[in-house]
Symmetry: C2
Subunit: 139 residues, 2 copies
Amino acid sequence: MIISDNLKMYVQKLRSSNLRPTKQRLKICQFLFDRKKTFHFTVETLNKKINKNGAIKISLATIYNTVEAFTSAGYLKEILTSKNKSYYDTNIKSHHHFYDEGSKELTDIHYSQIKLSKVPVPPKGKKIKNLEVVIRIQK
Amino acid sequence: MIISDNLKMYVQKLRSSNLRPTKQRLKICQFLFDRKKTFHFTVETLNKKINKNGAIKISLATIYNTVEAFTSAGYLKEILTSKNKSYYDTNIKSHHHFYDEGSKELTDIHYSQIKLSKVPVPPKGKKIKNLEVVIRIQK
DNA sequence: TTTCTAGTTTAGAATTATTATAAACTATAT
DNA sequence: ATATAGTTTATAATAATTCTAAACTAGAAA
């Protein structure tokens, strides 16, 4: 799954966001971004996978801090759901989701797969930041 | 705010969903549906308002149970958010939302205000149940 | 009308997700 | 090398929700 050693790139990326390139953050970067495909996760699943067989153990608090920092920095995107748990996406490009009500799984929909021909004017003084479509599916 | 005594209607509505018309459920029905305009709420706010000055006190557990039952029965709709708290909407018609990142408030967008000219085919064996658009806005 | 029973409500305990705390540690500027 | 601000950590605290089991009640049946 891991593509190559992009460590130097992550060091720069973190520095550019005023985040010190600690070994914990770098390990999480590698886990999240050294991949061909983007994916969805929760803090719970990230924590389990990161700490499964790693040399260094990263505390849960750090996982929370890092996910929050990466989201603020724009490396991750929080997903809209109707659950009481945060879901994150390593795909930060504008895109949409299928939400399967049976399996409760989210699948990406490429932004080119959906086209809008009419969009409302935002309230006065506000700008549209982005637009997401969630399509609920079931059997 | 309360339009009229729709009690009989609610009794029928509840019976048709195999929910006994208890005084707690009827009181919650009146609070939620005896209105001209639909609105958004959380269990926390519903609990506060329901128990502010009522004759009967409804326990928090019952508020949870009832909101869950009403959602399953299709009287309420859960809103998509990126928070760790459930938001509900008394507007169950297909519609969309503005999500203000500053104030963290949701506003309804009428269905007719958004038109899609391209929608993806759902995965094999699945049907589209509904489609929601969330437009994130900011200053 | 009374009785019975399954469905409902309730207070409080338990669980789950997240955030706060404060002490120990570390990256990096000087 | 040293100082220090930023970071990590274990643990406690908080918040939202679900569970539990006893008490209560709507409505069917006698």
